[in-house]
Amino acid sequence: MSAEHAHARESHGAGHVSPISLYVTIFLALMVLTAVTVGAAFVNLGQFNFLVAMVIAVFKASLVVWYFMHVKYQSRLTKLTVATGLFFLAILLGLMLVDYGSKGFVPMPPPIDSESVIGGSPAAR
């Protein structure tokens, strides 16, 4: 048994039983945060609307991952796995924005042939 293996086993807490009160608290927190998200969406914060919504969503997701999914009590390897997913997602989004961000979002491409889906004015149909 490798050292890491043994370590993982010791710190492994899949058997950790969380109290019901914790689960209920998390549930209530999630509901409140949902309400906050909806509320915040009706306030004009300009660019920050999106940021606020995402920060709340990330926070909610973290609560679920951390408590409902027991990552808090899991081995470092599990935490690393979660982090790996987020890291590579960040690479995908980040490097794609290197392109889209630097070429600017070009004007909406118009269809070229007249028989395309849009045709003239849809109101005319």
């Binding site: 790996t84 997913g85 590579f88 794609m96 392109d99 491409p109 269809p111």
Partner: protein
Amino acid sequence: MLDKLKIPDRHFLHDGHSLRSWLLTKDHKRIAIMYLMSISVMFFIGGLFAVGIRFELATPQGDFVSADTYNKFFTMHGVIMVFFFLIPSIPAVLGNFLIPPMIGAKDLAFPRINLLSLYIYWIGGFVTLYAMIAGGVDTGWTFYTPYSAAGSNTHVVPTAIGIFIAGFSSILTGLNFIVPIHRMRAPGMTWFRLPLFVWAHYATSLVQVLGTPVIAITIVMLFVERAFGFGIFDPARGGDPVLFQHLFWFYSHPAVYIMILPALGVTSELVSTFSRKTIFGYSFVAFSSLAIAIFGFIVWAHHMFVAGISTYAAMVFSFLSFSVAIPSAVKVFNWTATLYKGAISFETPMLYAYGFMGLFAIGGLTGLFLATLGLDVHMHDTYFVVAHFHYIMVGGAIMGYLGGLHFWWPKMTGRMYSEFFSRVSAIMVFVGFNITFFPQFVVGYLGMPRRYHSYPDEMQVLNVMSSAGATVLGLGYVLPVIYFLYSLKYGKVAGPNPWGASGLEWHMQSPPLTENFVEVPEVINEPYEYEHAVVKETHHV
């Protein structure tokens, strides 16, 4: 000494002979054997299309088949070779067979999921073959929109579904390697005692697990666009076809490393074993696999330098692309240094390893040309690119696969194949490959675009060379089928360790027991300690 050796009575091939005992097996070794048969069939189907392509290109006019047929040929060649041969090749056959014994485990972590991955592969394969028989597909294996979404009137949807399904097979294989490598190593088998083959497969698995879902979702988006008329990539509906390319290459560039990393792992084993010397710079070779896997994810847009990405993005991706070159170079240098003061012999697997080093070096170095911005503008989508990736995928991945197959064949079957014919075949593959693909570098720089059914007359001589070389290459690939099958019945008995190799897998009998080891082995040696290797010289030419 030879007379004393015989095939043990009890081994995994004898553990039930019914079809059911194979189709419902949970033994990773039997699954590997079934994978071997399946991908061999796919390889020869894909190879037939290659024959058609080279036949057509022997003359500048499009005279052998029609343009539509030719387009289907290269598309099906690419789809089958990439998704149904190269991606499963080394991991699903050699990895499946060898990773459990190499780490000292009885099986992979999830034997049923392992079997499931084979069934998924079959289903994906059948759907794709159905698409092929129903009339084929002509989009190129890259499926670029808007042609694939709106332009082509061939069987894009079934092919895409087939690839989508096969993707899950790849994910499950990767998952089934990561878990045992973390959780099921034998006592004493620390990370730095793992064979480099295992390191390479660990890196490969990461790519499979992280990259494949992105191509899966891309195919889903292509599917809803084509099947239901949703607008996602179609410029006529406000979409961006370049977005498809981004998502496609986010998987498909790393997918190249799914193909080549295991071959790098095989070569590390071969070079060390046949020079009877520990690998030079073990940890550098091990970590370079991981580095290649991770860097592989940040370079994808070098396939898109002239596809309408910004100048700035092109520069960023060009810069990042060179990062992959360094760990690849480190590997080649370390193998070279491993040979220094070794005790080198040239059995067939070593011939493949030598061939691999040469072809991989050329493939890797020509990658530098394509990563360089100013040059890629000229070379992009020409035969230079075709030659480059065939040097990596055929010269690299297939040479590695064949080398590994020749190396572990005695372990898998308990018998030796004909050393003479296998050497002949190795040399034919090497020579034939170079005659086929080296002229393509030249014709590519001349400007011949890829996927051309006909081409300007002045390029004929180089194309004829290529077609001629392909004949030699093809014969080199057929030969192993014959002597491998022959060896199953008439081959000399190999014994547990015919090469005097050092890995844990050579401590098993050949062919191994279903449970691999009678007792859980305890590892006390560092990797590649030939001083302690069980040396049984049973093998003569």
